[in-house]
């Protein structure tokens, strides 16, 4: 372990964990003075090719309140066949099967490189995967056609045993019975009336297998796990393909000046209810495809009169969005029902206008579902994104996991205060639960109905050790993350990550702590807190809070003379942090200007679930420059980087943008690239395109791909992102030559930093 950066990346590689501090202050008081809390970004299912799942069950600490899993950090007495739990110090006997262990014959979970290990649990039935399509039929024929094709395509990607179901909706909601001969049957429901699961069960004629299911246990479980509405793909493949093929636009007439009546709220409620009464506590995906906002019934977000537009941020601020609260409540209720049963809710919203994602966001956010926003089902953005949902790994199983629970064990000195990410609380109290809640707190267990390899939770901890009870030298704080989930192969798996960090006395070893600062992780962890706040608080308040935190951090760790801004220095481990904050303040996660509520919800949704690297890109887009003067190089996200003879490639995560500088654009227009003698120009043009393709192929969801040039209308995406170092206010003083001025009144990074320094060194603060 040479340097902290290496340590950090190694830890991330192995365990999928990044901490804001890699050496922890040893007392509560000191910890609070660190400004940035001790927290971690944890990616439970981070792809780890060299992690073979082991085929037995984990060994647990025998103390009822602990139940931690045997791990490499435990002290083992090979002779006595005992091990000491590193969380509660309980001494445990090894189970009989471990009789043969010795220093040279260690089980995998004791090997240091397996601080993260995955167990395959054999007990319990293999559950099938369940996919329930909920399809809007109120859309243009062209869109519907594209959607139908995508859906039909997806059938071929599903494993043959997966169960599928189909619900379509427009003015009415239809639950289709699959596999009927001779006649196609569906149950129809009014789009204006919500139904409880029980009512639904009666109306669909679904009686539970038998009341004595519990008693019969195994036997009842053995029954074919399907019913008339959810059947194995292999059985109803043709039938469903035909059914999809025959889907028609909602036949109810839509008069001019009206929106089609779309019973989205009820349709989702029925989907949730259907799974709730047939497959509770089993992984399942409800995939909802919508072509517009819900316009009737519970969950409606806008009336059917076209003359009243759907709510904007302006309306919301003015408290003028009359359907919003009620709809949000409806979808929250659905989300909690769905997550209680371990079912994922995906929303694929393809429409030019808003579709109510703001109200529905909790459905995706709480259940770990995807939220995809596109202009039309007939775009590659939707098609490829949807296809990528079904990507498979080398073993041929989907890269998604279902119905996971994450449990955290902590050593005594530290407790967990909460999580921010796509999860819901399981309300499990325990000794490691802190009284201070952050995000989804008050528990040490969370449910994540759906997760994939990049799903990342931000976990916040609290050091509870009292200042006057110093931790003995060499003591380490340990954390264990136990993730139980349903693998897409149907297996139940448990992944255990155990990690530990050194304690340090903040008064004597502040340098050490400062050096262990992971500014990238810290930025994202703070950003998640900020976004979380932004959901409920006014924008300016959040920004002010963020600024105050930044100033305090500078005061704490900066090197300066009081009241002398010019003397301010920041060590390398902190140097990028203010810049991240600067871009975060400008990001769509905290700024709603120019974004619709739906867009904001969608951006925030993505930000709250992706891993550190991707989140960083979202906060501070990456900019590459391609020019004749050298190989492609990353350049500052600054207006000064926009030069006439450069091609820029910007990756904001949501957009991949290629920007041709003024001169390059002229050359291209003149057709130089087609002339053999200017082949190098052709190569130059091609290079960013190739790179962009590569990014497009790996990213989920698919970003919007934009190819523009100097003066092009879409160049605005670039101009709104770069640091406005040159604006119409100061460009003349900067000389004519470099960069392109941005017409904005926003402060530039320079101004921001100047103010920051001034405030940080101010003795008044």
């Amino acid at each position: 372990m040479a340097t902290f950066p290496e340590f950090i990346s190694q830890n991330e590689e192995r365990d999928g964990v990044r901490f804001s501090w890699n050496v922890w202050p040893s007392s509560r008081l000191e910890a609070t003075r660190m400004v940035v809390p001790v927290a971690a970004l944890f990616t439970p299912l981070r792809e780890q090719p060299d992690l073979p799942p082991i085929q037995y069950e984990p060994v647990l600490c025998s103390r009822a309140t602990c139940r931690a899993v045997l791990n490499p950090m435990c002290q083992v007495d090979y002779r006595a066949k005992l091990w000491a739990c590193n969380f509660c110090y309980q001494r445990n006997q090894f189970p009989p099967t471990y009789a043969g262990i010795s220093e040279v014959n260690q089980p995998a979970e004791l090997l240091p490189q397996f601080s993260t290990i995955e167990y395959v649990v054999q007990r319990g039935p293999q559950m099938p995967l369940i996919f329930l399509y909920v399809v809007d039929t109120c859309m243009e024929d062209e869109d519907l056609q594209a959607l139908k094709e995508s859906l039909q395509m997806s059938l071929s990607l599903l494993p043959p045993t997966a169960l599928v179901g189909l619900i379509t909706f427009g003015r009415m909601v239809q639950v289709h019975e699959l596999g009927c001969e001779g006649i196609s049957k569906s149950y129809v429901f009014r789009g204006t009336k919500d139904l409880s699961a029980k009512q639904l069960q009666e109306m669909l004629g679904l009686t539970k297998p038998s009341a004595s299911q519990g008693a019969r246990g195994q036997q009842a479980q053995q029954q074919p796990l399907s019913n008339r509405f959810l059947q194995p793909v292999q059985k109803i493949d043709m039938n469903l393909t035909d059914l999809l093929g025959e889907l028609q636009r909602d036949p109810w007439p839509v008069t001019q000046g009206k929106r089609p009546l779309r019973s989205l709220g009820v349709a989702m409620s029925i989907a949730v209810g259907l799974l709730e009464c047939t497959f509770p506590n089993t992984g399942a995906r409800i995939m909802t495809f919508i072509g517009g906002p819900a316009t009737q019934g519970p969950g409606m977000v806008v009336g059917d009169e076209l003359k009243t537009p759907i709510r904007s941020w302006h309306d919301i601020e003015k408290d003028n969005a009359k359907y919003m609260k009620k709809a949000t409540k409806h979808y929250e209720a659905l989300a909690s029902r769905s997550s209680a049963n371990g079912h994922i809710m995906d929303i694929y919203a393809c429409a030019l206008d808003q579709t109510g994602l703001l109200e529905m966001k909790c459905c995706c956010n709480h259940t770990g579902g995807y939220m995809v926003m596109a202009d039309s089902f007939n775009t590659s953005l939707f098609k490829q994104t949807f296809q990528r949902v079904f990507t498979k790994d080398v073993q041929g199983s989907f890269k998604m996991a279902f119905a996971a629970t994450l449990e955290i064990k902590t050593s005594r000195e530290i407790k967990v205060s909460g999580a921010i990410g796509p999860c819901v609380s399981l309300n499990a109290k325990g000794p490691c639960v802190s009284e201070n809640e952050v995000g989804t707190g008050g528990t040490c267990q969370w449910k994540m109905c759906g997760l994939d390899q990049s799903t990342t939770l931000a976990l916040y901890f609290e050091v509870v050790n009292q200042h006057n009870a110093p931790i003995p030298q060499g003591g380490r704080g340990s954390l264990q993350f136990v993730t139980q989930y349903q693998h897409s192969s149907g297996q139940k798996r448990i992944r255990v990550t155990t990690t530990a960090r050194n304690w340090a006395d903040a008064q004597t070893q502040i340098q050490q702590i400062a050096a262990s600062f992971d500014q990238e992780a810290a930025a994202i962890l703070m950003a998640r807190l900020a976004v979380q706040r932004a959901e409920s608080e006014e924008g300016p308040d959040v920004l002010r809070w963020l600024d105050r935190q930044l100033i305090r951090l500078c005061q704490k760790f900066g090197d300066y003379h009081k009241d002398d801004p010019n003397s301010f220095r920041f060590s390398e481990t902190f140097s990028l942090y203010p810049q991240f904050m600067f871009h975060l303040r400008r990001s769509p996660f905290l700024q709603v200007f120019n974004n619709s509520p739906d867009e904001s919800s969608s951006y925030r949704h993505q930000f709250l679930r992706h891993d550190l690297t991707q989140a960083l890109i979202m906060v501070q887009p990456v900019l590459y420059a391609y020019s004749f003067s050298g190989p492609p190089e990353p350049v500052l996200l600054d207006s000064s980087s926009i030069l006439p003879d450069r091609i820029l490639l910007m990756d904001t995560f949501f957009q991949i943008l290629i920007y041709h500088g003024e001169m390059v654009a002229q050359w291209r227009k003149a057709g130089y690239q087609d002339m053999p003698e200017y082949e190098n120009f052709r190569h130059l043009l091609q290079a960013p395109v190739d790179d962009a393709q590569e990014l497009l192929h790996t990213r989920f969801p698919m970003p919007r791909y934009i190819d523009t040039e100097h003066g092009g209308s879409q160049a605005r995406f670039l101009l709104s992102k770069v640091n406005p170092s040159q604006t119409h206010n100061n460009m003349y003083t900067w000389g004519q030559e470099s960069g392109a001025p941005i017409l904005t009144d926003d402060v530039s990074l320079q101004v921001f930093m100047d103010h920051l320094k001034k405030l940080a060194v101010s003795s008044a603060a």
Binding site: Q174, S184, S186, V188, E202, E246, P251, P253
Partner: protein, 848 residues
Amino acid sequence: MSQQGYVATPPYSQAQAGMGAYPAGSNQHMYGHYGGPPQASFPPPAGSMKSPVSSSTPGMPPPPNHYNPNGQQNGSHPQSYPGAPAAPGAPAAPGAPAAPGAPAGYGHPLQSQYPSMGQQAPPPAKQLTNQMGAMNLGNYAPGPMQSPPTASPIAPQPFQPTPHPAMGQPPGPLGPHHPWGAGQCLVLQWQDLTCLVWACPTLDHLPQDPGASSSLVPDPIAQQATPRNQVSLGARWQGPDGRAQMAGGQMAGPQPGFPGAFPGPGMAGPPQKKLDPDSIPSPTQVIEDDQAKWGGQLYATNVRGQVPPLVTTDFTVQDQGNASPRFMRCTTSCLPCTADLAKQCQVPLAVIIKPFASLPENETPLYVVNHGETGPIRCNRCKAYMCPFMQFLDGGRRYQCGFCSCVNEVPVFYFQHLDHMGRRMDFYERPELSLGSYEFAATLDYCKNNKLANPPAYIFMIDVSFTNIKSGLVKLVCDELKTLLDNLPREDGAESSAVRVGFVTYNKILHFYNVKSSLAQPQMMVVSDTVEMFVPLLDGFLVSYPESRAVIHNLLEQIPDMFADTNESETVFAPVVQAGLEALKAAESSGKLFIFHSSIPTAEAPGKLKNRDDKKLINTDKEKTLFHPVKGLYEQLTKECVAQGCSVDLFLFPSQYLDLATMGHVPAHTGGSVYKYSNFQVETDGEHFLRDLRKDVEKSMGFDAIMRVRTSTGFRATDFLGAVYMSNTTDVEMAAVDCDKAVTVELKHDDALSEETGAFLQCALLYTTVGGQRRLRVHNLSLNCSAQLPELFKSCETDSLINFFAKTAYRAVLNQPLKSVKEILVSQTAHMLACYRKNCASPSAASQ
């Protein structure tokens, strides 16, 4: 055609033959079952009658407990009622054989019914009442329908048998339960004359019905029986039903003379026995005479106030300015001039209008007059339509309305010069000037929401609960529909029917079917939310049969199989009607629902009914509650159906109590019909049912109709009886009206009428044709007025009178105890006859 009326009875007389088999005739459907049983028992033993008669006659006031007698008499068949309802189909085992005894049974109950009467009411009255029932039998039955040839031979029989044969008969097949009876009553309301005949009897029964099987059913017979008792007296009257009374007159000479033949009606009173049976006019004779006079003849309607031939007579009408009697008949074609006179004679003034009566082949269908954009020409003041009663003045520039006397300008485009007689030159070119009945093409102003009407739709709603599947009904219906749908009614001259069809099956949930022609296979859409019914689809539910034939056949093929192994026995009803209604609303059209239903709707849903067949109420003041529909939902439903022009026809296949009083409420007010086949079995009742169904599907209809009766000054229409809905006092709303439905309109004086000008009636019916066109059908009738009672009595039509009495009595049953209804009926008849005797009859006939 003549005796058709009788026909009704005949089948019975033929007892052995087929009880089940009705004369294909028409209207009998409903009654089938009821009537059925009795028939069975009906003994032909005509001859024997007389003697028994005498014995049992008047004197014998049956002990309060009528049944006892039965018991005793029957001896061998102590009240073994063969399953009442089953009767028709059922070999009526008991019936036939028992025949001889039969009459007795009936006889008894009868008497018992009127026990009190004997003492209280003037004897004559009593008899009259009885007759009433019988009367109807006679004339009207066959009414309009010129059907079965069977008639004549049989006709006579009924009568003779009358004398009631042996008493001991088990009332057997009789009286199912009350409720059903109630159902029957309903029917009354809306059937036309013919039907009435059948229905009438019911009145009597209803009342008695009590647990006692008593005479519920036996009606027809019962009445007949009665006469016997009254012996001669009755006989006369009853004769051919009331007809007889006037009949006498008619027979004798044309309208005029009532030959003294008329026995001073019942006046004879007690001394009945002394009457000479031979001098009693025979109803058969009356009918035959009328038939002889008019049979096959041309009856021109050019004379004001002429008395038309009997309904039993087969004649040809030539419309010459007054509506054919097939469309309108009055209780008397000569109105009393003053209200006092009307009160004095006690003859109710009413007109029975059957706007859609079917016309025989040889009569011209109604002409359609199209005035284009302007629409029909109407009086500015009273809004009466242009008709033969309008007087053109001023060289043809103006016309005076015959109804309100308002003088109107003739529109320019309509101007025509007058000829030397003051008639317009184009008199014969314009149906509205020269004919009593014709139609106008309606303009947008006459359409709902100012939108052209859509062709109506027929929705077949089949109960696929366990009972219907098991009885084979579902399969029967589905198979039949495959061919039947080719015969949907069509506009005259149209190549195919414009009527669209839709299908629903249900038990406690509903299944709608998408049978769009473009589909490879039908789609089923299940709606289990019966609390708030809605229609799950728009496109593809109502389709044109020829276009979607393949899909529909496919569906009809599959329905019986799909539910073959159902074990659902609960059903819903109100949501089914609601569903049909919603479908029509969504399609913005009028239409008709054919509901094939099996059992009382007990499933948890709106309109759930419970068994309220409380036998304890029978014969008490609360008895009427049994006939009343359950309040609330069904009434609301009725209202909505009428507003949408949704008619409901119910085919019921119950095996137990059904609360028909409630379920029948909707059909009763939407121009629908109720058909009931108790304990349905395909083998025995199948053909009967199919025949009813075919007729019901094929018959010509008008939808979403609204009728208005206008009269000339001095009198007006005050009350309307029939399968109609009234939201105000003048507009008669009918969701649908078919060729068998009639509305009885009561007329009252406002003022004195003038003998010279007479009285005019104009019935205008705005409706949608089966082709989806909006039309106005106008029937005009002119009547005489007279201050002379003999004139009045001469012009009376018994058929119509009975119709009126029956309908009013039915209505009364719902509000008063049966006993008082009966009393009122008796006393009114007595008054009427007394008045006749006092003013018209020759004194000599005292003894008669």
